[in-house]
């Protein structure tokens, strides 16, 4: 199983809704997710675990016994699966500001919801989802900045947005959430060249698209 990050499609929405219902208290009907993906198809991403046996077969593997066959069939009826080979373990739901009377007329994006299933944390998934989404918001919709809200008690998320992704805190919004908790309102300016996700691999080796990938010479 590999962890895949990829653009979300309509086929992922039910699994995203399921992940959201498992992780967060702010929930939405499917139509709201559809509204996102059908208005800004490039803005949302998912993280999935991808079953490699759909790509290739391990020849040493024993033929699938009835037990594993059964397991495979059952997994499909679990609502966290977007398709038989992929289980959704995280998502980011992004949009452009579309309030007809916005406070600020500069085109800008907003993160409606982002979460990663507890058992898949500490792998940098939320950061990767965020970087892909920010890049697309900037590239496809010309977003000059992106904004989001985070619970003041959510230290892990605050750390990610402020320290890793360099968001700045604009203000505290009192009783923003239904349970009356305050929210930090945060914002990040977007510059396309600085957002290329692979930059954050921090590798000294960069593919120049020319060298033969199979040659023996060392870089």
């Amino acid at each position: 199983m590999t962890i895949t990050i990829r653009q979300a499609t309509i086929y992922d929405l039910q699994a995203i809704q399921n992940a959201n219902l498992h992780n967060l208290p702010e929930n939405y009907m499917l139509k709201y997710y559809m509204y996102h993906i059908l208005s800004w198809p490039q803005a949302s991403y998912v993280a999935t675990t991808t079953d490699l046996s759909t790509y290739e077969h391990d020849e040493e593997a024993q033929t699938v016994d009835k037990y594993s066959q059964k397991k495979i069939d059952e997994s499909k009826t679990d609502p966290s699966y977007a398709n038989p080979k992929e289980k959704v373990v995280g998502y980011i739901l992004g949009k452009m500001e579309d309030d007809p009377n916005p406070e600020d007329k500069t085109p800008h994006g907003h993160v409606t919801s982002i979460s990663v299933i507890r058992t898949y944390r500490r792998m940098g998934i939320a950061e990767k989802l965020m970087r892909q989404s920010l890049y697309s918001l900037c590239e496809c919709y010309g977003a000059k900045y992106v904004s989001l809200h985070v619970r003041v008690s959510n230290r892990a998320a605050l750390h990610l947005y402020r320290d890793t992704l360099q968001f700045t805190v604009l203000k505290i919004e009192k009783s923003y959430y239904a349970d009356k908790e305050d929210a930090y309102s945060m914002k990040k300016e977007l510059v396309l060249e600085e957002l290329v996700p692979s930059l954050f691999q921090k590798s000294e080796f960069v593919d120049d698209f020319e060298k033969d990938l199979l040659s023996d010479e060392e870089d």
């Binding site: 895949t4 809704q17 399921n18 219902l21 559809m34 059908l38 609502p79 507890r118």
Partner: protein
Amino acid sequence: MSRRRTAGTLFQSKEDTNFKEALKLYESKQYKKALKLVDTNLKKKSHPQSLALKGLLLYHIHAANGKNEDPDNLEPKSYFQKALKEDASNPVINHIIAIFYRALPDYTEAAKYYKLALDNGSENRNIWKDLAVSEIQLRKYKNALAARLQVLNYFQGYRANWTGLAITHHLNKNYDQAEKVLTGFEELAEGKLSDPEFVEHSECLLYKNKIIFESGDVKKALKNLKEIEKTVFDHLSVNEYRATYQTALGDHKAASITYRKLLQRNPDKTDYYYLLEASLGIEQSNITKRLKLYNKLEKFYPKSDPPKVIPLMFLKADSKEFEDKLKNYLISKLQRGVPSVFKTLKFLYKNPAKVQVIEKLVLEFLDDLAQKSKLDVDPTITVWTLYLLSQHYMFLGDISKAEEYIDKAMTHSPTLVELILFKANIAKHKGQLVEAADIVNSARLLDLQDRFINCKATKYYLRADNLEKAIEIASLFTKNDDAVNGLKDLHLMQANWYLIEESEAYFRLFKKAKNALINHLNKIDSENIEFTPELSREVKDEIDEVQKLKGLTLKRFNSVVKNYKEFENDQLDFHGYCPRKGTPRAYISMLNWADGLFNQPLFMRAVKGMSEVYLSINDDIVNREASIIYKYSEIIASSASKKSKNKNKNKTNKRREQEASKIIAYDHDLDVFGEQFVNTDEPIEKLNELFSLTTDKTSVFYLKLSFLIYIIQGKFILAFQSLKNAKDILVDPSQAILPYYLMKLVESLKNNTDPKLEAIKSMVVKSISSVFKDFNADESFDVILTKFFKLSEADGLENHYFYLKSTKLAGKYDEAVATKILELINKGKIDRDLNLDELVILKDYVEANGSEDCYWI
């Protein structure tokens, strides 16, 4: 709206003025005010348009108080009938009725009346738009095309109408026409687009490119892609399309470069790696080349998962490279305390040699940690290592070792939620569902802010059939407003995971209660126990409980079905919205997604559950005379005096009212207990209605269920056809399931005495032998049994079950096999072989000595 414009406002009657005013009020949703005006019109003389509007207004007023949920509420329709009787060709009336059906929703009727309004001369051109939307929702693309052509004809100034027409051509597979329409607008708009319109423009250009590709002209698509590249913003799509086209044209070298660019943009997408390999012409068996490639890619993208994990798949278990790569991967994850490391390696467990390497490495690593001084080792690393070992042994079926390691880990860190969760998982596998739930709950109490662990606890309680505790916990995170719990919110938010689990819990409780009741009655019957009024009341309560659980099972499963119908209906607004917003590509995906909705596994899971209950209701109807429950229900009904009946009824009503507040699913829920599902004389019709929603008719489940329905209906040719198709798709046709169903078919043929079916029956008998070799319907079941059924030691519960059912059919119920099944269950085979519901069905069957009919679909 009116065709009689010539009359002019000067001569307009008072009624017409009122009607116009009422229409305005309707549009601003002031239904009650509008109704007053309409009623004024209808007081003195007839005004057909007002009659129609009254129907529509009543529908909206009823929507606010839930009256529309009542299937017997025909009031709005009665006004339409009256209106049509007086003026059937009035386009305003037609239009009003169309709007009603669209809201209902019944798109077939809506389209019919939109069309009628237009045919009757309505000059309201917007009706063409609404007609197009209804036709698309119905997937009648030809009709939609005719409507969209009119729309563009009338409203050329809007890009949405060009895009909408192009989409409709595309749906009709008129690729050339679709392209032409899109180009037509591009030419008109050349140089005239303003800044905010460029996003829409970019999407439409890519849409046209996709259409060119789908038309089959790949070269043209690639050329077009180059032309539009500068104007298009979405370079991810540009490059993905380009790579596909280059591959299709055989230019693999170029495709490989494109995939390298795509990887640089997103090195976390597994697809790209395999596509890159293919474009480089590397065979999957060429391990040396692949290793070289992935070593390089890992250097470029050290923070991504695929270049590290894919080699674990293709490297040989006994190679040094495999061990090295696995070690690097494992240890870096353990050191970072990644809880999911076992899950990501699970795919390797199909290969026993690789499992051994994993075990060796992890044990060595644990040893190293123990050797080092305590100061040098972060204690959490030891904990995660022990956790991994526990999961490892659990997967291999070594429960005692799994427990040993999880206990060790928990001694280190007793409050780590992940560890406690796994401890519960082990208990679950041992069949200790109640204990397992309590363990998860103890983890939940450690982190009350986390909804994930809250959901886990909820789910474990549902699996343990403790519904009260489950909803109590789930309600801590729902919006409960004035309700006593969060059940309504879970329905509103379409929490299918909860609904399906609760349905299945109700199903298990229903089965349990029904069996207990039957056992109780059998005892009373066989031991001649005196049926005192007290005992009568006791039995009556038990019967009521079974009925209630049966109703709630169907009701909850239906909540899932209802959500799927809602998803289907959710498309509606987007037929008009997407052409306006300029997102035709995403829109086309939506149509394809919606087409497959009722084939989704979760939907089928609900159908499966409902079919078990509907089939058993049908059995109850067919075998009413022989049923002991029916016998005692009659005794109770005839013996109770009218007075005591009323008294009891009042008492029960009070109790039910209290209960209802805890299980109510929707505002204005008129059938909280699901009685309308249970009190049916036509369970098979209801099942068929549900079942007909699915369009994929090739799954084993579909064929099994359709077989059962057909033999009940006496449609023997179709039943045979289902088995014939099942034979072709069964993974292992030697399983007992197929011969069992054949015997069942033969039995139904024998039991059927309809002389009109003689010819058909003998034809089916002949076909059976020709398709299923050696299966001779004229032979005795005894002979068939020895010929077709061979149980082996390794056979799972499913095979044992079908074998047992076959021996029952042959009149030789095999006690030894029944005992074996119970043995297997008690060995803790739960979950390894079956899901919980199948297990319940199986246990029921065996414990009732095969007398209670049950299904396993």
